[in-house]
């Protein structure tokens, strides 16, 4: 299923910014995400927003190219599931556009309408090496959370590069509660909604006559039901994952991914067979709910080894700390996952899942999202020293670094600290 998405979305690769100067990013280790593997003493040359070449340090570099040297070089990391940029202060409702418990609408809610590229979490996330985000709405009123989107972390006004990239639907305990109190209620709601879409003409010809959805919601869900748009289901328990897979088998045209999948390892072979990718939080290793009784820190490893497309995300704090996915991926490695699989979980896997052509890899022709690091990107002690998005050097300043610089010393003998800016 994933391959098909890749093919159908090549149209995405519109010409990126052309202003950027050529840059040669040298790394003692260059993780490419391609068959080139990890190049020792390598270089990535970028020009006109694209990767021009990737190879050993001896690779020819255009005259006048800026030289950057780093310990590690990787593709820009991709946060496969976040609420970054749609909640400035999560607990302050006025600033939180992630979900709408009181809305009349559900599937039609477009998270991109709430995106603010100036959100302070964007800078924090970029400084941690993440250049692209998939942003999902929160489901608060019904199990249909609405439409998710894809954005870069430049903070520019045009950061959103694909609106309505996926439909977000919540199952499991949370979905049951949103549907009225049980899993049967959520599945009945889901099937009813799909019927609303399939019989749209008959049901909504003159007025709202859907079983479940308003006219606008049914319209918004149409691409997903037709198989033209990815559906991202949230589910944790093995039986819930099997129910999603039953649904996938009964509706083979659907494009499905699953976020959560805490018990995914128990149904890993079937997920692989049906080519359903998952986004997991490898820190989930507690029976934190009755849907996570088989949660284990080895989930990501076992899924990857079974051939499932795995991406790693931070589900504990997805608005301000989505970038901790790299720490979580490092822990997945400590729990037995292959390093390359963990790196793919932050790059090529999300790029595949969302059809982000030319992202997540360092290869000639790829979009020049490149990160230079002062160490192994999965080590908690490492940090980016330079970040490029579409070939453009990004600001390494965030509101946090400004606060830090103000309070680095506390000397107020001459002037209050408020004058330091």
């Amino acid at each position: 299923m994933i391959r098909r998405i890749l093919l159908s979305l090549t149209i995405l690769t519109a010409a990126p910014a052309a202003l950027a100067e050529p840059v040669a990013v040298y790394g003692k280790s260059v993780w490419t995400g391609t068959s080139q593997g990890t190049i020792t003493d390598g270089v990535v040359v970028i020009d006109n927003g694209r990767v021009v070449s990737v190879g050993p340090a001896s690779t020819p570099v255009p005259a006048g190219a800026k030289e950057v040297r780093a310990e590690w070089v990787t593709p820009g990391l991709i946060s496969a599931f976040s609420r970054t940029g749609i909640a400035e202060v999560s607990g302050v409702d006025d600033t939180n556009d992630a979900g709408a418990g009181g809305s009349h609408f559900s599937a039609a809610l477009d998270a991109a309408d709430g995106f603010n590229p100036d959100a302070t979490a964007i800078g924090v996330t970029r400084l941690a090496g993440f250049t692209r985000l998939a942003v999902a709405p929160q489901a608060r009123a019904t199990l249909f959370g609405g439409q998710g989107f894809l954005a870069n972390t430049s903070g520019d006004a045009d950061s959103v590069f694909r609106d309505r990239a996926f439909a977000f639907i919540v199952l499991g305990e949370n979905g049951a509660s949103l549907a009225g109190g049980s899993r049967p209620a959520s599945w009945t709601t889901l099937r009813g909604a799909f019927d609303d879409v399939r019989f749209f003409g008959a049901r909504y010809m003159s007025h709202n006559e859907g079983n479940v959805l308003t006219r606008m919601d049914a319209q918004a869900l149409m691409p997903a039901v037709k198989g033209d748009q990815l559906i991202l289901f949230q589910a944790r328990r093995a039986s819930d994952l099997n129910a999603v897979m039953d649904f996938a088998e009964a509706n083979p045209s659907l494009r499905i991914a699953i976020v959560g999948a805490d018990e995914g390892w128990r149904v890993a072979d079937r997920l692989a067979l049906l080519d359903i990718p998952v986004m997991v939080d490898s820190f989930s290793n507690l029976p934190a709910s009755f849907s996570q009784l088989a949660a284990t820190g080895e989930n990501a490893k076992r899924l990857a080894e079974a051939g499932v497309t795995v991406s790693i995300v931070n589900l504990d704090n997805d608005d301000h700390l989505a970038h901790l996915a790299s720490q979580i991926a490092g822990n997945a490695v400590a729990n037995g996952m292959a390093f390359d699989d963990a790196m793919r979980a932050l790059t090529t896997a999300p790029a595949e899942i969302y059809g982000m052509t030319g992202l997540g890899v360092l290869a000639p022709g790829a979009r020049a999202d490149v990160v230079a690091w002062d160490g192994d990107p999965l080590e908690v002690t490492s940090a980016p020293t330079a970040v490029y998005i579409d070939g453009e050097a990004q600001s390494m300043v965030s509101r946090q670094t400004e606060l830090r610089d103000r309070y680095r010393t506390l000397d107020e003998s001459q002037r209050p600290l408020a004058y330091k800016h």
């Binding site: 400035e88 202060v89 999560s90 607990g91 302050v92 302070t120 979490a121 924090v124 093995a238 018990e263 128990r266 820190f283 290793n285 507690l286 029976p287 934190a288 709910s289 009755f290 996570q292 009784l293 088989a294 949660a295 284990t296 820190g297 080895e298 504990d316 704090n317 608005d319 301000h320 700390l321 901790l324 720490q327 490092g330 822990n331 490695v333 400590a334 002062d374 999965l378 080590e379 908690v380 002690t381 490492s382 940090a383 946090q400 670094t401 606060l403 830090r404 309070y407 680095r408 506390l410």
Partner: protein, 468 residues
């Protein structure tokens, strides 16, 4: 008789046996004297042998680092730490070449057992939100020892931890310090002789829960930060008066006051027997609280979360409070908006006491990584704290805030052998706690499934522990 003072005093708690039987040996217990220790610890160290761990990189937890170092464990205690120790006759040996050895990690902010897994409503025992002042509750009465979180924390090298009530209330109740050893009862985990603590909270939580929360508000107040402070002062005034009556009665001068659980705890703080742990994010609020504590003659032992500690690190150093912090949590509420990644190293650099805490059943599993993040973020701005010094954030400093630093928190002869053997540098994401010793007994061994505890709740479930 001053048995209560003796048993609960932060230092000088060596003859603990006497604490098990309140009043014993004192002739008579005065009518007004509440039992010193009504829910006594039944924890006893598990059997252990003599063990020499050698060839390791040893961080002693108080600033020392020994390459190719050894640690000798005998009778459940650290017997020796050095570069060239010989195994006594009959001692077991562990060749820890390439591995690191540290004191066990102590988390001074956990809700394990009180908010256990699974986190269903029936398990929500961490916060007595029925009123803004609930100094009368003791979180140990909520601790469910079958929380699988304890075992995951153990696998992360946690050997002791403080369980705190939640932060809804101005006064949340007493905290309890536990040894991270599985037991059938809370008492079986209770750290013998550890002083009690009191949880207090600043800022948004109390005013949200009481002033604006839940429609019909339990107490009506506080609605504001000034209401919070009035609430603390009001309670301390009552406690001061209660303590005066207690003192007079003890001096044989007048009737003792009626027993009052709330005021007994607050008077215990004013006596210096109970240590104050205060949830406080904002710098300006911590400054107010430091003054408030002086008004009533007590001391805040540690500010918790302290997201803005870096803004007043000098004042915290001068006052002498520790700050228990996250490496990078921020932005989830207004008072956490100014969180920065360098908070911990900036506090340390100002000469104040810095602690890495979790407040999370996930974070507690990798506090070493949280310390590593803070350590490296400090380094990048020129605060180059040696790793052996940074480890103080994880064991001796939290031990100080719990009044147990004379017994654990570092690898020093005579201390409890609470020791972790790491597969490599514990400041690396890839290193794991391989072996965890508590009072010298091997309580966790990553390579031996028989030495991985499994809680009752997990038995017979699709998953059984973290790795099945």
């Amino acid at each position: 008789m001053r048995l209560r003072n003796l048993c609960l005093a932060a230092a000088a708690v060596l003859a603990l046996a006497a604490c098990d039987a309140p009043g014993k040996g004192s002739g008579k217990t005065p009518a007004f004297e509440p039992p010193a220790d009504p829910f006594p610890s039944t924890y006893k160290a598990y059997p252990s042998g003599t063990l020499l761990i050698s060839n390791a990189t040893v961080l002693d937890g108080i600033g020392g680092r020994i390459e190719n170092g050894s640690v000798l464990i005998q009778d459940g205690k650290i017997a020796a730490v050095g570069a060239d120790l010989k195994a006594p006759e009959g001692a077991a040996t562990l060749d820890a070449r390439g591995k690191w050895v540290t004191p066990g990690i102590i988390d001074n902010h956990s809700h394990l057992g009180a908010y256990p897994s699974p986190g269903v409503d029936s398990h929500g025992d961490g916060n007595e939100i029925s009123g803004p002042v609930t100094a009368e509750v003791w979180v140990e009465h909520s601790v469910w020892p079958q929380d699988a979180g304890f075992t995951r924390a153990l696998a992360g090298g946690i050997t002791s931890l403080q369980i705190l009530p939640g932060s809804a209330n101005l006064f949340g109740g007493r905290g309890v310090t536990l040894k991270n050893v599985p037991a059938r009862t809370m008492q079986g985990m209770k750290f013998p002789g550890a002083p009690y603590t009191l949880k207090m909270a600043c800022g948004e939580n109390p005013k949200r829960v009481y002033g604006y929360g839940r429609g019909s508000t339990p107490g009506g107040a506080p609605y504001s930060r000034m209401g919070n402070v009035a609430g603390y002062r009001d309670a301390w005034i009552k406690a001061t008066d209660y303590k005066k009556q207690l003192d007079k009665a003890k001096a044989g001068n007048g009737e003792p006051p009626k027993r009052d659980l709330e005021l007994e705890t607050l008077a215990g703080v004013l006596n210096g027997e109970i240590l104050v742990h205060m949830h406080c994010y904002r710098a300006d609020e911590m400054a107010v609280i430091m003054d408030l504590s002086k008004e009533f003659g007590y001391k805040v032992t540690a500010f918790h979360h302290a997201v803005e500690a870096y803004k007043i690190a000098d004042k915290l150093a001068e006052y002498g409070a520790c700050s228990s912090m996250w490496a990078d949590w921020w932005g989830f509420k207004m008072e956490a908006y100014d969180g920065i990644a360098e908070n911990i190293p900036l506090v340390h650099n100002a000469g104040a006491c810095a602690i890495v805490h979790s407040d999370s059943d996930v974070g507690i599993q990798h506090l070493n990584q949280e310390a590593a993040k803070a350590w490296s973020d400090g380094k990048r701005i020129g605060i180059d704290v040696p790793m052996e010094e940074a480890w103080e954030w994880l064991s001796i400093n939290p031990a100080k805030t719990l009044g147990i630093d004379d017994r654990t928190g570092s690898l020093e002869p005579g201390k409890m052998a609470d020791v972790v053997v790491w597969s490599g540098n514990p400041f690396s994401t890839y290193s794991k706690a391989e072996k965890v010793y508590i009072d010298g007994a091997l309580m966790f061994d990553r390579d031996d499934p028989a030495n991985n505890p499994v809680m009752d709740f997990e038995l017979g479930q699709p998953g059984e522990g973290d790795r099945k």
